[in-house]
């Protein structure tokens, strides 16, 4: 690994390809949106696509691929862990809906 960090990229052509792929994912997202799925299914689909998209972007655009694996293995678990922990609020959120006192 040289001083320049991610010195050896694969060149612009490849990045253009990634860029096109990302646009395609966005396109798929919009198409899925108009399949009139029930909200929860739609959410699952959109999240999956969003994570895929974000993953590709981080991996290639943000050059994670070209850094040492150690970097990915330090950042990713931390983020996943924290976000996973935040999920503790959902059981509460759903209960909230059932305990609502007034119409508003």
């Amino acid at each position: 690994m040289s001083v320049q960090g991610a010195a050896l990229g694969p060149g612009m052509k490849f990045f253009v390809a990634v860029w096109i792929a990302l646009m395609c994912i966005v396109g798929v997202e919009v198409i899925v949106t108009y399949q009139h799925l029930p909200p929860r299914q739609l959410l699952v689909w959109l999240l999956l696509l969003a994570f895929l998209e974000a993953g590709v972007a981080a991996w290639y655009f943000m050059h994670l691929k070209y850094e040492r694996a150690a970097l990915t293995w330090s950042l990713l678990p931390a983020l996943v862990f924290v976000v996973f922990m935040m999920d503790h609020i959902w059981p509460d959120a759903f209960r909230l809906a059932s305990l609502r006192l007034l119409s508003h």
């Binding site: 503790h88 059981p91 508003h104």
Partner: protein
């Protein structure tokens, strides 16, 4: 953040001349560390005086405190504290102590001063950002203090500022107009300062270690500061948006934390649809890691100081680091134990209770390792080592009561009683403060180049040690008797008989508080009259002791240190002397 992008790691190696650049807007991590320490010192005495006033009011509710009206004429007509003013003082006490003392002194203060030195770096990775983080923190402190001087006084919502009390504005009571705004703004600013600091700590620890300073050779204190900065990086990132949303609720009419149909002092509030529990979730998601942001550096500092006075390494050094990491991890899995009876889903309570109980395991391991390390040691009793031992004792006392509060079934009785007050004061406040004292007596010779007075230090220790037990032990009994906290006075039938206990606590608090002025005097006297300190007064091994006291601008006078040893090689068999400095090239024969 483009700061970091724009100027990665600029290092001047020539000291700036001129007072302003050198002492005020200094990029030198040592000056910044002292600035943080000074800020914490101011804050801790402010917070302590507030607690005095509160204690006096709790003991003798009608007692007129001379001159109290100077602090607030509306809050203390005829020098007798009003209930709302009591709540203001309580809120400010909590906020000041948690944010500006327990976070600033052991983490930002000592950390800034000693982390770069302990890793053998000439400075922090981003000196400018470092300076910025201090000045941002100072601004936060000033904004918070300003709320003492606004018309309706500081907020009365408690340091957790639960919505909607904190969100609906002036209708809810005094202090909830401008005072609450200032609180939210101050804490938001504070978060920014901490984030900048954390980035700096992480980069410095990972990137600026001198040759031979492998991660496993880092002193416990450095480990603690590193882990703490990682926790802070992720925790304050949640409090920041939470504060912003709170500010929006208060000023822009949003309803994140305010449900519909509230009638506060006969005004139907215009908000609809929010959830008070959302604030609690966001706040405690930060709030619990914050507890460990306060205590982990303390654990690191004590583990760092003890060996020097035991003349032997701690048992299982790797295990202790492991415990700190484990505690850091678990700190994100338990925030809901602050919300057992908050109306949160009772299922979640069980979910949160288990990891909370599990945290006691690494904590117990660390404690046992300290105790076991004392066995067969040759203890030297100085103020520093006494405060370390005191730390272990209060850490046990505070940790034990965690067993009770971690269980929802018991918490439903003990929640919001003085049992909780006793618990977190012991394990978080007193323990961390003891570590700060230990650190001060241990490091001050290095920081200001003069030895502190031992006699005064030990008097200070004995009064403080006995004092804190007299203050906080009785609070457990009060809690078990169902004495509710955050009451400005005790008028309920079942509380009146308990007032004598409160009076005892108040006297203890006044005495213990007074003893802190011995410490202050000692500090000031040392600064100007104290005897010059040698480079290594305690025959300690880590890098800060292999430079002059105080260190030169670039810490090691241009020398490029090489580390040959673990951080705590005391009484090494096969070594000529009693201890081996990390930098000493001596080859120790393995036995």
């Amino acid at each position: 953040m483009s700061e970091a992008a724009a100027h990665p790691a600029v290092h001047q190696h020539t000291a700036p001349t001129g007072f302003i650049r050198k002492y005020v807007f200094s990029v030198d991590h040592k000056i910044i560390g002292l600035q943080y320490y000074g800020l914490a010192l101011v804050a801790v005495f402010v917070g302590m005086v507030l607690s005095w006033l509160m204690r006096i009011h709790l003991g003798w509710a009608t007692f007129a405190i001379p001159g109290l009206h100077l602090l607030s004429s509306t809050g203390a007509p005829g020098n007798v504290m009003t209930p709302e003013y009591y709540l203001s003082l309580m809120t400010m006490h909590g906020t000041i102590m948690v944010f500006f003392v327990l976070t600033n002194a052991p983490f930002s203060g000592f950390g800034n001063y000693f982390l770069p030195i302990q890793v053998g770096a000439p400075d922090m990775a981003f000196p400018r950002m470092n300076m910025m983080s201090f000045w941002v923190t100072l601004v936060a402190f000033l904004v918070l203090m300003a709320s003492f001087f606004v018309s309706d006084g500081p907020t009365i919502a408690g340091w957790t500022v639960y919505a909607p009390l904190s969100a609906v504005g002036k209708d809810a009571g005094p202090g909830l107009a401008m005072g609450q705004n200032l609180w939210a703004v101050a804490i938001a600013i504070f978060c920014v300062g901490q984030l900048l600091g954390s980035l700096n700590f992480i980069a410095t620890t990972l990137d600026l270690r001198t040759k031979g300073m492998s991660l496993l050779r880092l002193p416990f204190s450095t480990w603690a500061w590193f882990i703490t900065s990682v926790i802070g990086l992720l925790a304050f990132a949640v409090l920041l948006p939470a504060c912003v949303l709170l500010i929006l609720d208060r000023t822009a009419g949003t309803s994140f934390f305010i449900p519909g149909g509230l009638v506060v002092s006969d005004h139907l509030q215009p908000h609809t649809g929010g959830s008070p529990l959302l604030w609690q979730h966001l706040f405690w998601f930060f709030g619990h890691p914050e507890v460990y942001i306060a205590i982990l550096p303390a654990i690191g500092i004590v583990s760092h100081i003890l060996p020097a006075f035991m003349r032997k390494p701690l048992l299982g050094p790797r295990v202790i680091v492991g415990c700190m990491v484990a505690i850091g991890f678990l700190s994100y899995m338990v925030w809901g134990h602050h919300m057992f009876v908050s109306g949160m889903n009772p299922f979640s309570a069980l979910l949160f209770s288990v990891p909370t109980l599990i945290i006691t395991i690494p904590a117990t391991i660390a404690t046992l390792l300290w105790i076991g390390s004392v066995y067969g040691a040759k203890l030297r009793f100085t103020s520093a080592s006494l405060f370390c031992l005191g730390f272990i004792s209060v850490f046990i006392s505070g940790g034990i009561s965690g067993f009770f509060l971690a269980q929802p079934s018991i918490d439903t009785y003990l929640h919001a009683t003085y049992f909780v007050v006793a618990h977190f004061h012991f394990v978080m406040a007193v323990a961390a403060i003891f570590a700060i004292f230990a650190g001060t007596y241990f490091w001050m010779p290095k920081m200001i180049g003069r030895m502190m007075n031992e006699t005064l230090g030990q008097i200070h220790f004995w009064i403080t040690f006995v004092g804190v037990y007299c203050i906080f032990m009785p609070m457990h009994y009060l809690g078990l008797a169902g004495n509710v906290r955050r009451y400005a006075a005790f008028t309920d039938d079942f509380l009146v008989p308990l007032i004598p206990v409160h009076q005892f606590i108040t006297i203890a608090a006044l005495v213990t508080g007074a003893a802190q002025f011995i410490f202050l005097f000692n500090l000031i006297w040392t600064r100007f009259r104290g005897p010059k300190a040698p480079d290594n007064p305690w025959n300690a091994t880590s890098l800060e002791w292999s430079t002059t006291s105080p260190p030169p601008f670039d810490n090691f006078g241009g020398r490029q240190l090489v580390v040959h040893h673990e951080a705590y090689e005391y009484g090494v068999a096969g070594s000529a002397g009693d201890y081996v400095m990390q930098t000493s090239p001596e080859v120790v024969k393995p036995q």
